[in-house]
């Protein structure tokens, strides 16, 4: 039996020895005071700098890992804990390589833990190196991922930034576009109207809308009164600006003109000296720009806002453009108005002259009273009926008034002869349309009026004079006039015959349709007569 026991002990010792060798285990015995009492024979000295054989050396002195761990170790000694483990303790070797150790602390005697502790040190370098390379790879991978994420975020940020820049640029362009459209609208308003107030109203409205001002007005300089007077105002709630009458150099408006510079007051409360226009409007900020055309002050653009407003350069630039347009509108429309006035005066002078000539002709010709005015009136009615425009009608009027102007060139002896004319005399008499041509064609203003004086003796069938024109070769005005002229002549009394009655004349005219007269002109004329008769009857009935 003892032999058997001895054998078993021998066997167990051998197993322990092998396990120790294979697992590179070493151990120490630590007493209840945590001092090293014994070390295993194979304990590798390089595991610690301390001298393990020094009597009374503490576990903490031998292995720094146990410094501060006294509480845990006492827990084991008290039987409150059965194991304490420190995994993968690093030991850097002289060659720089790492050894990994595992420390395990257990009671020496499980039945009596207070007896002391067994500290088992296992060399786990081979598994440690495998784990290290796994962790190393994983961490490096994470670094790369991080770097990628960072680069990605960077890219995202740059994309975002670019997108924001683009959006900003787009907004700028859109703003410019809207402003250009506003300017274009103003240009069209200036070009499309000859009414200065209409153009200025468009500009004031556009200015108010795009510069977001409460009130915009344009005042014109009156060179006679030497005052600025309101021309248009947009957005006003009171009549203060409407009725403004401002002397050069006075108030913010007069000052802008006098100083010839834009005056900017973003916060009028900061300007106690300021002579504000628009107090009743409640302006808290105002802006006045002189309107200058060809070096002359023509007006002032005035903007008011009911809150404080600090403009930026962009806003001011746009304002300058709008004010420039207002100045241009004033300048060009005023010039147009001046031109129109002188044109009108000229036309009036011509008309008076023509009427004077016409009367002189009637007197000389000893025409029946009012012949010229009657035929003129009737011819104009026909001209309206055929749809001539204002200008054509004016020329028809001049032509009708001057239809016999060529007779100025006919000697009194022939023109005023009571008797029948000889062939030669007729020959001369028939020259009067050609004389009319010679007289009027050099006058540019009267050239378009020549149709009647030159052609009213032509006949539809080509037998008329002076050129023997036929059909639609004869100008329409002359074809219309020819009917009227003959009608009036036949209705009038002459020294050698009495005027025909209306039916006779109508019948005669109808008979000449297609030979002497244009059938269309005849139809139109007879219809006109019917119309006039009816009107007269209606009037009489009333």
């Amino acid at each position: 039996m003892p032999h058997k026991k001895q054998k078993l002990a021998q066997f167990e010792a051998r197993v322990v020895q092998l396990i120790n060798e294979w697992h590179r285990l070493a151990y120490t015995y630590v007493d209840a005071d945590l001092r090293i009492a014994q070390i295993s024979p194979n304990f590798p000295s390089e595991l610690t700098d301390a001298d393990l054989t020094r009597p009374g050396i503490s576990l903490g002195e031998a292995f720094g890992e146990f410094v501060g761990m006294e509480d845990v170790l006492h827990d084991i000694l008290r039987g409150e804990r059965s194991l304490f483990q420190i995994e993968r303790v690093n030991r850097i070797q002289a060659d720089g390589s790492i050894r990994y150790l595992s420390f395990r602390v257990v009671p020496l005697d499980v039945q009596k833990p207070s007896a002391g502790l067994l500290v088992i040190v296992e060399d786990v370098t081979s598994s440690g190196l495998i784990e290290h390379s796994l962790v190393q790879n994983r961490n490096e991978l994470r670094f790369v991922q991080d770097a990628l994420a960072h680069a990605n975020a960077d890219l995202d940020k740059r994309v975002e930034q670019r997108t924001a820049e683009l959006a900003e640029a787009k907004q700028q362009i859109e703003k410019q576009l809207v402003r250009m459209q506003a300017l274009r609208l103003n240009d069209l308003a200036i070009l499309g109207t000859t009414d200065l107030r209409v153009a200025l109203k468009t500009i004031a409205d556009q200015t108010r809308k795009h510069l977001r001002m409460d009130v915009v007005s344009v005042l014109l300089f009156n060179p006679y009164s030497l005052r600025f007077e309101n021309a248009v105002v947009a957005g006003a709630q009171t009549s203060e600006i409407q009725s403004a009458w401002i002397r050069m150099g006075e108030t913010v408006i007069g000052r802008a003109a006098f100083e010839r510079q834009t005056l900017i007051f973003p916060d009028v409360s900061q300007e106690p000296q300021l002579e504000l226009v628009g107090k009743s409007e409640g302006f808290l900020s105002c802006f006045a720009l002189p309107l200058i055309a060809k070096g002359k002050i023509v007006g002032v653009m005035y903007l008011g806002h009911r809150s404080i407003f600090q403009p930026n350069q962009d806003w001011l630039d746009f304002l300058e453009s709008l004010a420039g347009q207002a100045a241009m509108a004033i300048e060009s429309i005023k010039a147009f108005e001046d031109l129109q006035r002188s044109n009108f005066e000229l036309a009036l002078a011509y008309s008076r002259t023509i009427e004077g000539w016409s009367r002189a002709l009637d007197l000389r010709d000893m025409q029946t009273k009012d012949h010229t005015s009657r035929v003129t009136e009737l011819t104009l009615k026909l001209a309206h009926l055929v749809g001539m425009n204002e200008i054509e009608i004016m020329h028809v009027k001049h032509g009708a008034l001057l239809h016999d102007i060529g007779k100025m060139g006919i000697p009194d002896a022939i023109l005023l002869k009571d008797d029948y004319l000889s062939d030669e005399e007729w020959e001369i008499m028939r020259r009067h349309p050609a004389y009319a041509y010679e007289m009027l064609s050099p006058v540019e203003y009267l050239r378009p009026a020549l149709d009647i004086p030159y052609c009213h003796h032509e006949k539809w069938d080509g037998t008329g004079y002076p050129r023997g024109l036929a059909g639609e070769q004869i100008p329409l005005a002359a074809r219309l006039f020819a009917v009227v002229d003959v009608w009036d002549a036949l209705r009038s009394n002459r020294p050698y015959r009495k005027g025909w009655n209306e039916d006779q004349v109508r019948e005669y005219i109808r008979s000449q349709s297609g030979t002497h007269f244009d059938p269309y002109a005849v139809d139109l004329f007879l219809r006109l007569l019917d119309e006039m008769d009816k009107e007269q009857m209606d009037q009489r009935a009333v």
Partner: protein, 173 residues
């Protein structure tokens, strides 16, 4: 005047923030660009002068976190007087991990002294962690102060450890 006190301190923080590098700079005055991760624990010693004598620091370099659920084994923190918690100025996640380390350190040992360090300040152009973030975190778990360090240039590295030593001393008094 020859008093020597021995103190255990730990470096905590996400992987790769520079724990090992800060210790190496502090203890050996060297720096290595090459990344060699730490697994397990690596203890270094450094003795510093104090007004009362010397403090022998036993510095635990621990493996960085490998995820949210794998923080330091609580028993390793046994007997720790203070901890340096490190984040990496170029990686935002390391700030979040830093907060978690601080929280856990305070739970394991409510009296532990903490110093917060944002490392790698030589890479300022890649900065993603702001001063505001750091002082906010430090105010939550500490006194509101923190260090911007670089193990590479050595900037503020000594200060980090002497600041922790100062806190430990003040706590002992």
């Amino acid at each position: 005047m020859n008093t020597i006190v021995q103190k255990k301190i730990c470096l905590l923080g996400d992987f790769g923030v520079g724990k090992t590098s800060l210790i190496r700079r502090f203890v050996e005055g060297r720096f290595n660009e090459k990344y060699l991760t730490t697994i397990g624990v690596n203890i270094s010693r450094k003795t510093i002068e104090r007004s009362y004598g010397l403090m022998s620091m036993l510095i635990w370099d621990l493996a960085g976190s490998t995820g949210f659920d794998s923080f330091t084994n609580p028993s390793y923190m046994q007997g720790t007087a203070g901890a340096v918690i490190v984040c990496d100025i170029t990686r935002r996640d390391t700030l979040i991990i830093m907060a978690e380390y601080a929280r856990q350190a305070r739970i394991i040992n409510p009296k532990i002294h903490l110093v917060f360090v944002c490392n790698k300040t030589d890479l300022l152009d890649r900065r993603v962690i702001s001063a505001e973030d750091l002082s906010d975190l430090s105010s939550t778990f500490g006194d509101g102060s923190y260090f911007l360090s670089s193990a590479k240039t050595g900037e503020r590295v000594e200060d980090v450890f002497s600041s922790l030593a100062g806190k430990i001393d003040a706590g002992d008094r």
